[in-house]
């Protein structure tokens, strides 16, 4: 526990140290990054201890604050969330040292590093807090720090708009959380988690509040609108932290609150499953429509949060129908996907950042052929893409496989659930399958158009591979993706304390069925065999070609004389068939000026993807409120006589009301 406190102090004090170093870029860079790395390392000690199965007794200090107390703790649940937080923070900090170089002298990087460390510390505090007041304040600090990080390039109007949407969304969520914690702590003089009274009276309301409040941070549809705005606006290493781990604190809060609420009724599981399915499918669809790389990745965060939600939903259904195997597999899948998504999403953001850094554009349609120029970045991006598509043998597959298995077990002979429990299976399975197919479409698009083929714009042709400080973190993350993918069973074992903290079924031997671990081992075995086969095939192919003539030629152009790189398929054209199929949701705007006359001079076609919830739900509502409020301005019309009339009317009304 002392380690944890030390790390928190490191983050906060070190952040201030960065501020102190304002004006000296080198110093700022070194202080900021080393503080982040040191703090992360310090906190990794207790985290790993807990993951290793050691129980950690919490810290409880008095805090001269109403309802507050410095109550910290680190159990399995906190650990599986804090581990990715710390790792990603450390790697992102290293990456940031080089990524922020070009801004040195142009911007106040000291404050940027300060808020970065503040964000890291507050995230750690959020998962470690055991008191409502502490939790809420850490939550707020987290939101504010990330907001200031999002406002990095604040001279752009779009960035300011994004920051506004982000802060508004996150605070509306926080409002629900305030009410939630006040309900939980009702009647107590303290908001300690341990002191929360039996919530069975209002468990339903509390669950809904938690889903809305934490779901806003996590990015459940339709509260996701801030994600695609805020994540592209932030610098890439920050987007990696935000998208990779910060939104997971929402998931953490949801699960943590569920543990306060007693046995879950089935409709909770159903809620999460349906929210998950909607977020997953629509998230990947919106992603498919984007050609701004970082928006695309941001929408994929929505998709993966949906997958996580489905896993948790399956787990809750298993709990409410007393099917330990289902519960275990569901939660295991959900939690493992939390970790996996943290890894490959931050990997993708970092490598995307490298590509953007080099090519100077976020528009996929202008990139192309980057693989030859930045091979390492391309390789790690490929690893990340395969992982996020949930394809074997990488880590994304393991967690999705657990969720599949959970829902299959619920309909298999292993358990006998009532119709209410098994009916979720087709939803989950179908949604996961559709998501998988569309994700493949989306990331073949992203990887293929960005890194393969020929450069689509001249300045992309002369990019260079990024430096060591940016490459090392990416390579580490890629290696982690592969490692988790081929050694799944170990990691599932690490989840046991977390799952028992939520469900309390780890004691049950049937909880982690033997066939599940066997299945994971067989996947590993298959992967090994496949690797061997690949080796053999490569060898054979080399032998065959060794004796034959291998020549280079231009791409087969079907007889067309002079193909130019601009004739390649673009991301938009690649995704066009699917976007046309789902235009009901996508509403992509098209700006088309067709070629005219016999000798057409110039013609243009451009598409602009919309977010149906932002367009048709939030903007109208906010607009209506704004119009209404501007209409009541006539009350302050400047006529003194009527002002005094207000006084008299108020007096009369009060007399009439209170002296009946």
């Amino acid at each position: 526990m002392n380690w944890l406190v030390a790390s928190l102090c490191t983050f906060f004090a070190g952040g201030l140290a960065c501020l102190a170093a304002t004006g000296r870029p080198r110093l700022t860079r070194w202080v900021g990054s080393s503080v982040a790395v040191l703090g992360g390392a310090l906190a990794l000690v207790p985290t790993c201890a807990v993951l290793g199965g050691r129980a950690m007794n919490g810290l409880h200090l008095p805090w001269s604050m109403p309802f507050g107390s410095i109550a910290l703790g680190m159990d399995g649940l906190s650990a599986i969330f804090s581990a990715p937080i710390l790792i990603i923070v450390m790697l992102a900090a290293v990456y940031g040292t080089e990524y922020l170089r070009p801004f040195e002298g142009k911007r106040n990087l000291a404050s940027s590093w300060f808020f970065f460390n503040l964000l890291a510390g507050s995230m750690l505090l959020v998962v470690a807090a055991r008191n409502g007041m502490l939790f809420l304040i850490a939550w707020e600090v987290m939101s504010l720090a990330s907001f200031f990080l999002v406002m990095f390039e604040n001279e752009k109007a779009t960035v300011r708009e994004a920051g506004w949407i982000y802060l508004v969304a996150t605070h509306i969520g926080t409002a629900f959380l305030l009410v939630l914690f006040l309900l939980l702590g009702q009647g107590n003089s303290t908001l300690d988690f341990s002191a929360f009274s039996d919530a069975s009276a209002f468990a339903g309301i509390a669950f809904v509040l938690a889903v809305v409040g934490f779901g806003t941070k996590a990015g459940f549809m339709p509260m996701h609108v801030w994600l695609p705005e805020a994540h592209p606006a932030a610098p890439s290493h920050v987007s990696a932290v935000m998208s990779g781990v910060m939104i997971k604190t929402g998931i953490y809060g949801l699960v943590r609150v569920v543990t306060f609420l007693g046995a879950p009724p089935p409709w909770w599981g159903w809620t999460l499953v349906s929210i998950g399915a909607i977020s997953g499918i629509l998230g990947v669809l919106f992603a498919l429509a984007q050609h701004d790389l970082k928006r695309l990745l941001a929408y994929h965060s929505v998709e993966n949060i949906g997958i996580i939600a489905m896993g948790l939903g399956v787990g809750l259904l298993g709990m409410s129908y007393h099917a330990p195997a289902v519960a275990f597999l569901g939660f295991a899948g959900g939690f493992l996907h939390v970790i996996n998504h943290a890894l490959f999403k931050s990997l993708l953001f970092l490598s995307a950042g490298a590509a953007i850094h080099a090519s100077g554009t976020r528009d996929i349609d202008h990139m192309g052929g980057l693989l030859k120029r930045m091979p390492i970045t391309a390789l790690v991006f490929l690893v990340g893409s395969v992982a996020i598509c949930g394809l074997p043998p990488l880590n994304g597959f393991v967690s999705e496989f657990m969720i599949y298995l959970g829902s299959l077990v619920s309909v298999s002979g292993e358990t006998s659930l009532p119709i209410g429990g098994i009916a979720a299976a087709p939803v989950v399975v179908g949604a996961l399958a559709l998501i998988g197919g569309l994700a493949v479409a989306c990331f073949t698009k992203a990887f293929g158009i960005m890194f393969l083929g020929e450069p689509r714009s001249p300045h992309v042709a002369h990019v260079h591979e990024s430096g060591l400080a940016m490459r090392i973190p990416m390579v580490i993350l890629a290696a982690a993706c592969v490692l988790i993918g081929i050694t799944g069973p170990f990691w599932v074992d690490l989840l046991r304390p977390a799952i028992s903290a939520v469900t309390g079924i780890a004691a049950d031997p049937k909880a982690y069925p033997a066939f599940a671990s066997h299945a994971l081992w067989m996947v590993t075995f298959l992967a090994a065999g496949a690797a061997g086969l690949v080796g053999i095939l490569v060898f054979l192919r080399a032998r065959l070609l060794a004796t034959q003539s291998v020549t280079q030629a231009p791409t087969w152009d079907c007889g067309y004389a002079a193909p130019s790189p601009r004739m390649q398929y673009t991301a938009s054209s690649f995704a066009e068939p699917i976007t046309r199929l789902f235009r009901v949701f996508l509403r992509t705007r098209r700006h088309f000026s067709p070629p005219t006359a016999y000798f057409p001079m110039s013609s243009s076609f451009s598409t602009e993807p919309q977010d149906i919830f932002h367009e048709s739900l939030f903007q109208p509502v906010f607009g209506a409120i704004h119009r209404f409020l501007s209409r009541i301005h006539w009350l302050q019309h400047g006529r003194l006589n009527l002002y005094i009339l207000y006084i008299i009317v108020a007096l009369m009304a009060l007399l009439a009301w209170k002296l009946r």
Binding site: H633, Q636, G638, R639, L640, N641, L642, L645, I648, L659
Partner: protein
């Protein structure tokens, strides 16, 4: 005997207020308010006590001096500064103002019965008359255009409140009364100065055109 005097004074108070509702000339307003000041000053002397104590006399003279002579002087000076002479078309016409006055009279009788404040003065009219004066004062403030007539409305309001106080509270400590009196004096003084400056700045004292600050 006392009661008769008191009632006559009270009724006169209301009638003079009505006079303001009818008239449109600011000069008339000032004269009427001076008259009211004198009447209000006389009220404590006749309010139910057999023989007026010393401090009552003292207070009475102070009130009569201020409300009856100083205020009218200040106001008429402000009036001389400004070019305005009459209350041009008020928000509510004179006839309907009178109508409102009648309503106010009835309303205050009703309110008196509802509130059931037992009056300390021997007169039953005291409270309703005071209420009427108060209401008319507020009405003047709300419906008249020129700053001056708003001050006069404020004075009428003050007179009404004073009569009300006499009716329900006896033997208010003299120090307090003087304090209140002092405040009212300063209020009118300040308002006079304000009107003076407003005249200088806008060369009108039309409240209706004094609405640049909005929203």
């Amino acid at each position: 005997m006392m009661t008769l005097l008191q009632n006559t004074l009270l009724v006169a108070l209301v009638l003079t207020s009505f006079g303001m509702l009818v008239s449109g000339r600011l000069g008339v307003y000032i004269r009427i308010v001076a008259l009211q000041g004198v009447m209000v000053g006389l009220l404590p002397l006749v309010a139910g006590h057999a023989v007026p104590t010393l401090h009552l006399v003292f207070v009475a003279t102070a009130i009569i001096g201020l409300k009856g002579f100083v205020f009218p002087y200040l106001l008429s000076r402000a009036l001389r500064e400004s070019k305005t002479r009459r209350e041009m078309n008020p928000f509510v016409g004179h006839l309907s103002s009178v109508f409102f006055g009648i309503l106010a009279l009835l309303g205050s009788f009703w309110m008196d019965s509802r509130l059931s404040l037992q009056s300390h003065s021997s007169s039953e009219l005291a409270i309703p008359m005071a209420f009427t004066t108060i209401l008319i004062g507020l009405f003047l403030i709300v419906t008249r255009r020129t700053a001056l007539s708003q001050v006069i409305g404020f004075l009428v309001l003050e007179n009404g409140i004073y009569a009300f106080g006499l009716a329900i509270v006896y033997e208010v400590p003299v120090l307090l009364e003087l304090g209140v009196l002092m405040d009212v004096f300063v209020a009118v003084f300040v308002m006079g100065i304000a009107i003076y400056h407003i005249n200088r700045e806008f060369d009108h004292m039309d409240i209706d055109r004094l609405n640049t600050l909005r929203g």
